[in-house]
Amino acid sequence: MTTPAPRVLVVDDEPQIVRGLKIILRSAGYAVEAAETKAEAMASLASRPPDALVLDLVLPDGSGVELVGEIRRWSQLPVLVLSAVGDEREKVRALDAGADDYVTKPFGTDELLARLRALLRRSLEPGGTPEVELGELVIDLQDRRVIRSGREVHLTPIEFDIVRVLAQHQGRLVMHRQLLQEVWGPQYVDETHYLRVHMAHIRAKLENDPSRPRYLITEPGVGYRLRDPST
């Protein structure tokens, strides 16, 4: 390896989860540090800023939401939240406060690593690419075309814009508000029903089985994600 390993700070007060996470992340090529409390996390962030943060929402000395809020005042550090069924409200608050994505406990290792990779890709390679390839889909951002299995699919301008925004954040969660703002404009951020209608049309054109989407994944109550089905 020519570049140093990306550094990940895991903040969780369950020592057994941290033990497992450390090994998984280390074996996936990350350098891992751990903190049990909000205070420890702040100290670690200040002394050796990591490349990404994996954060449990429930900490002994406060909420992960508060920590996200504090970090966002001075850093765009990617933050992946560990949430639990039943903590949906906290999860949404964390995302509103600036967290980038989440996995729900108990999470699959592959899912966690894929999300983390997507977050780090954003921060390590700014700019992005003009063409995104996902399985049998090619999204050409420059020429505003989508090709599925070698044949061009006709999308309306709005439909293409939705796909474009998701492709620019490929693999990452895009919240409803962000999608509405980038496609329609800031005054439409609450009109989530626009998204439902258009998403149904897009899925009908891009998915083999629109009722079981492989590319365009719904994150209930939060947003959408464009996923590469091969990962």
């Binding site: 369950e14 057994q16 989860i17 033990r19 996470l21 090994i23 090529g29 039943g86 290792t109």
Partner: protein, 485 residues
């Protein structure tokens, strides 16, 4: 105006006296002034009667005065004839003046009487209003309806001058021998009973019946609403508690599950060293045990809460139970047991008590600072056997002491991996076995849980007092239910 004949008789006497006095006056002054000019004295008589007896009496007085004056003083005297036309004018003027004066005086008199009766009515209304206001302010939240009705009865009695008064919510009246029964109108049927010695008339008391009925209705309604609110609040609290328990269970189940899932994910990863594999397997083992313990605890708790514990009571030596619980403790912390050898036996389910002491010891070990031992002491006094499990940890904050036995309760700052069920299960088992468990904050620091049972025999020597079937003799002291869980 309805007046009794007796009043009329009195009036007639007064008229005669008034006319006689005026006549006497005229006769006395006749020597000084000509009598014809003295007829004016009769106006005084008319005035006096008008003020005292009203218009009709005044008119009679005027007529009698004119006749008397004419008969006694107008020429020709002692006849009702009038010689001079001047005297006719005099008499007519006197008559008119008498009538007018009488009328004016009697109007004044009626006004005065009216004002007086108005004042009387106003005073009666004021008493009624005062009573109703007192009743209204006696309707306070937090009092039972029976207490409210008693207070209302006392107020009515005090105001109406009766020896006693009471209000009853009943469909048909049931007055006592010396009681008036008055219906209290309102949406509910209620009756007011007042002893007959009241200074208020029945009519006066009836006047307050309707407003009183409405006030009582307000009181009844208020109690009903308060009851309902209390019920709603209770069910809301139960709901909150249920939600908290569900939340706690899901959190406690998920943490070990997440740790296991993460460790399994790690085992699948390619670049894991042998040492790391060992560590991940340890995590899976430990967390599986933790899940198992949690499931056991939940099961115990549900059995305790549904009353399905069914202890198998037997002669039990708490020293054996404690020794066995200490041996089960996997911790390498120091546990000092100082129980007297003559500790009386108790009748209890030894297996359940072992769970109790295991939980208490685990708890104490968890909170003990490194190097500080957990101490188990005890003794017998007042017919009870007490065993205390004490630690020298940080102690339990005062505000949490009442709640430590609640399921899933954890003190703020308790970051241990326990289920938060140990103490509630312990209490459940202790109470099911007829014992008591209390929290005794340490004198300096630390926490002490005291478990006590009634001693099963008064003295450590000799066989247990009752029951050959329980197996008397020294060998009965051997705990029987020592089978591992």
């Amino acid at each position: 105006m309805s007046r009794s004949p007796r009043t009329w008789g009195l009036t007639a006497v007064e008229i005669v006296i008034a006319v006689a006095v005026a006549t006497g006056g005229v006769a006395a002054l006749e020597g000084v002034t000509p009598a014809e000019g003295l007829g004016i004295l009769y106006l005084l008589a008319v005035l006096a009667i008008a003020i005292r007896r009203g218009q009709l009496a005044a008119l009679l007085t005027a007529l009698l005065s004119v006749l008397t004056f004419n008969f006694l003083f107008i020429t020709p005297r002692h006849r009702l004839e009038i010689a001079h036309s001047r005297d006719v004018v005099n008499l007519v003027v006197l008559l008119i003046a008498a009538i007018v004066v009488g009328r004016l005086a009697s109007i004044g008199r009626e006004r005065a009487a009216e004002a007086e009766s108005r004042a009387r009515i106003a005073a009666a209304r004021e008493r009624e209003a005062k009573l109703l206001a007192e009743v209204a302010s006696s309707i306070l939240p937090g009092r039972s309806i029976a207490a409210q009705l008693r207070i209302i009865g006392n107020l009515v009695a005090a105001t109406t001058g009766a020896t006693a008064a009471r209000v009853a919510l009943e469909h048909a009246p049931s007055p006592g021998a010396d009681e008036l029964a008055l219906p209290l109108h309102g949406p509910r049927t209620a009756w007011l009973y007042v002893t007959r010695d009241a200074s208020w008339s029945r009519g006066e008391i009836e006047r307050i019946a309707e407003p009183l009925g409405r006030l009582i209705d307000v009181a009844v309604e208020r109690e009903r609403v308060a009851d309902q609110a209390a019920e709603t609040e209770a069910s809301r609290r139960a709901e909150v508690a249920k939600t908290a328990v569900l939340h706690a269970i899901s959190h406690d189940l998920r943490s070990p599950l997440t740790a296991i899932a993460t460790a399994v994910g790690g085992l699948r990863a390619t670049l894991v060293t042998e040492a790391e594999r060992e560590e991940l397997i340890d995590v899976i083992n430990e967390e599986t045990a933790r899940l198992g313990k949690l499931v056991d605890d939940l099961l115990d708790l549900s059995r305790i809460e549904s009353g399905a514990v069914a202890p198998r009571a037997d002669w039990t030596d708490l020293r054996d139970v404690v020794a066995s619980a200490v041996m089960q403790s996997r911790s390498d912390a120091r546990i000092e047991v100082e129980l007297p050898e003559d500790l009386p036996l108790v009748r209890a389910d030894a297996a359940q008590l072992e769970r109790v002491f295991s939980n208490l010891i685990d708890n104490a070990v968890k909170f003990s600072p490194p190097g500080e031992p957990v101490r188990i002491t005890g003794g017998a006094s007042g017919g009870r056997v007490v065993v205390r499990v004490s630690d020298r940890g940080p102690g339990i904050p005062r505000k949490d002491r009442l709640r430590v036995f609640e399921p899933f309760f954890r003190s703020a700052g308790d970051r241990s991996s326990g289920s938060g069920l140990g103490l509630s299960i312990s209490r459940g088992f202790v109470e099911a076995n007829g014992g008591q468990i209390i929290l005794q904050p340490g004198a300096d620091a630390g926490t002490s849980f005291a478990v006590s049972f009634p001693a099963a025999r008064p003295s450590p020597d000799g066989p247990p007092a009752d029951g050959a079937d329980a197996g008397p003799g020294p060998e009965a002291a051997e705990p029987r239910a020592r089978a591992p869980r």
